[in-house]
């Protein structure tokens, strides 16, 4: 087991791009080694030691690394990018692209996760205890697939385009979601426990379950009547018919 604690030394205003903060990178490294790694404040490279107080306890492989971030990193982007194992716990908010391209391990954010949390996620698990921004588990511009595996749970609300271009994996939004969740879903599962609008546009495959209210439905779904999922009755829709979709949309 190796535990690394990062405490920001200042209140960042310009976003810090810190894709270096992953268990894979930190595994087996000393505080000094980690401190020498570079993050970018805008156009200016800065060693992590300038930005964070770093303490390291023990030494281990990535799978047994736990990174705990205490303090405000609402302006630190790309935490956990591409990580394959281990654990990151952020006690507070995080900036965009947290856990992007993640392949394994887990990230827990106790506060708000800004947009693109779990962008193009391949595996592992992300838990956001607060709200999330736009594009939870979505893709990069122009890519046919966003998230392809893993699981994201947001306990609060998420904004628009949850799981855009989802090709696999599972997203659970315990609160409300903005417009167009699961747009262009190609085979993943999204559960929204609160309200949302226009779910499942251009869905070809996959499942979307909305337990709250859908005020605006896309006018391109075939109503297949009532169906029970996990003991709860939903109206089942199949579509999107404009893309010959066989996606299943369950709305309470």
């Amino acid at each position: 087991m190796q535990k690394i604690t990062l405490v920001p030394k200042e209140q960042f205003k310009i976003s810090i791009e810190a894709e270096t903060i992953t268990p894979d990178n930190f595994a087996g490294k000393s505080a000094q080694d980690i401190g020498a790694m570079i993050a970018y404040e805008g156009n200016t490279p800065r060693p992590l030691s300038e930005l964070f107080d770093i303490t390291v306890d023990g030494s281990a492989d990535a799978a047994d690394v736990k990174i705990e971030i205490n303090g405000n990193v609402a302006r630190v982007k790309r935490i956990g990018e591409g990580m394959s194992a281990g654990e990151i716990v952020v006690n507070g908010d995080v900036d965009m692209r947290c856990g992007a391209l993640m392949r394994g391990g887990s990230i827990t954010v106790t506060g708000y996760a800004d947009s693109w949390v779990g962008r193009e996620m391949r595996g592992g698990e992300i838990t956001v205890k607060g709200n999330a921004g736009f594009y939870v588990g979505a893709g990069y511009r122009g890519e046919p697939c966003g998230m392809t595996g893993g699981k994201i749970t947001v306990f609060g609300n998420a904004r628009d385009y949850v799981g855009e271009h989802l090709c696999g994996g599972e997203i659970i939004i315990k609160g409300n979601a903005g417009i167009l969740p699961g747009v262009s879903n190609k085979g993943g599962k999204i559960i929204i426990e609160g309200d949302t609008d226009m779910p499942g546009s251009e869905m070809t495959k996959g499942t979307i379950i909305v337990k709250g209210t859908v005020t605006e439905m896309m006018p391109v779904y075939q109503n297949e009547g009532i169906e029970t999922v996990d003991g709860v009755e939903y109206t089942k829709y199949v579509g999107d018919v404009t893309v010959d979709g066989v996606g299943e949309l369950f709305v309470k």
């Binding site: 205003k13 310009i14 976003s15 791009e17 970018y40 404040e41 805008g42 156009n43 200016t44 302006r75 965009m96 692209r97 947009s115 693109w116 736009f134 594009y135 990069y140 511009r141 122009g142 417009i179 167009l180 747009v183 262009s184 226009m198 546009s201 251009e202 605006e216 896309m218 006018p219 391109v220 779904y221 075939q222 109503n223 579509g239 999107d240 018919v241 404009t242």
Partner: protein, 432 residues
């Protein structure tokens, strides 16, 4: 002296048939232009000399070009997150310089598409864009749809030159050969002259476009009785008219790019257009505003791979609207300086964004006093491109033309100003 075949430097139509009478190096008459183009070419009161001030509430003081340029360079070099915005009312030649400067200072390069047709680019990135040149539509289109755009007000000669009244090879009766459909949230002047006006509820274009797709695919049975305020009957009827076109064209504007669903409206409009090509020929094209905002997208794309919202801070370009466009960054108060050129952020960003601009040094390069000037610390006046300077611009359909110079003035060109700032930046950074 009458200068013929002048290209109008106002909107994305780039009408190239203007005739401008110039006497003693002054424009005295502008023929064939619309009211807006004529006003632009005739000119307005302009900023006479470079100006600077410490605080934005101070009065400006006149300074030399060297002083303004040196100070601008210093601000850019000292910035960790400089925004370089505008690049639309100017020529491609200077955009190339702008890219170089943004690289050199590690800035964010954004053009006015950010608050105009940036979402159209995102839509294109989802689905592509079946389109063509304006002459193709003039020669062939018999079904013309204006969706969320109002050319009568925004592109006054568009209808006569390209889209409605223009007579073409296969449309030799002009207006009579075409069915004109306008989709908008209000009955605009363009809607007044259409054969069909479809009033869509604000923010519900996306659903209406989806319903059209279903109707075109003969899957109207799933469509509810009304969608977005439009009856199913109307949707089915218009879908049939679209499929029955010999050549259909969709012109769209900020009525779809700025409304709810934003780029997804373009995404689905492109899909509808693509679907229609299974039955006939259909194209779609954005109605671009600034005369060379299309050029900004073209130049940025070939230089960097991306159209706008390009973050150069890491030495390789990174693009992600929502993260890297002007208002994304202003909203987060992330920027530490702004360089505004060939666009007026002050007049076209939400007040809350501009309030954030008030807190950082702002450098403006522009011929005219405008709301950005009110927020600026350094103001550097330049030539009016396309009137006082020749160079390249791209029409809304990406046809590239060479703008003419009509009169000579003593102001430097924006390219010269950029060159000098670049040289000074390199000097301060100690690079050759």
């Amino acid at each position: 002296m009458l200068i013929k075949d002048v290209i109008c430097p106002f909107c994305g139509c780039l009408c190239d048939d203007l005739a401008v009478e110039v006497e003693n190096n002054k424009v005295i008459d502008v023929k064939h232009a619309c009211k807006i183009g004529a006003a632009k070419i005739r000119g307005h009161n302009r900023i006479e000399a470079p100006m600077m001030r410490e605080s934005k509430t101070d009065e400006f003081r006149e300074v030399s070009y060297d002083e303004a340029i040196n100070e601008a360079a210093r601000i850019l070099v000292d910035s960790k997150r400089p925004l370089m915005y505008g690049w639309a009312s100017c020529l491609c030649e200077m955009m190339k310089k702008g890219v170089l400067l943004a690289e050199e200072v590690g800035g964010i390069l954004d053009n006015t598409a950010s608050v105009c047709h940036g979402p159209s680019a995102l839509g294109v990135q989802e689905k592509g864009i079946p389109t063509g040149t304006l002459g193709q539509f003039a020669n062939r289109a018999d079904v013309v749809i204006f969706w969320g755009c109002n050319p009568v007000q925004a592109h006054p000669r568009h209808m006569s030159r390209y889209s409605v009244f223009a007579k073409g090879f296969f449309t030799n009766k002009g207006r009579k050969d075409r069915k004109i459909v306008v989709v908008d949230v209000r009955k605009t002047d363009t809607a007044e002259m259409a054969d069909e006006y479809v009033q869509v509820n604000p923010g519900e274009d996306y659903k209406l476009l989806a319903a059209f797709r279903a109707a075109v695919a003969d899957k109207a049975d799933v469509i509810p009785d009304t969608v977005a305020g439009v009856s199913k009957e109307k949707i089915v009827e218009l879908a049939a008219a679209m499929k029955g076109a010999k050549y259909g064209i969709v012109y769209f504007g900020m009525g779809v790019t700025q409304t709810r669903c934003k780029y997804k409206n373009i995404d689905i409009a492109v899909s509808l257009t693509t679907d229609l090509n299974a039955y006939t020929k259909f194209s779609i094209i954005p109605m671009r505003g600034h005369y060379n905002v299309t050029g900004a997208g073209q130049v940025f794309a070939w230089e960097t791979g991306y159209v706008n919202g390009i973050d150069m801070s890491r030495g390789v370009p990174y693009y992600n609207p929502g993260e890297t466009c002007s208002n994304d960054m202003l909203m987060r108060e992330e920027l530490d300086s702004a360089f505004v050129i060939g666009g007026d952020a002050g007049a076209h960003f939400p007040a809350q964004s501009i309030a954030r601009m008030a807190k950082i040094p702002v450098i403006q390069v522009d011929p005219f006093h405008n709301p950005t000037t009110e927020m600026a610390n350094i103001v550097i006046p330049v030539k009016v491109s396309g009137v006082e300077l020749a160079g390249t611009a791209y029409r809304m359909d990406s046809v590239c033309l060479r703008m003419r110079k009509l009169v000579d003035v003593d102001f430097p060109s924006d390219e010269e100003v950029l060159d000098k700032i670049l040289a000074k930046v390199k000097e301060i950074k100690g690079v050759s």
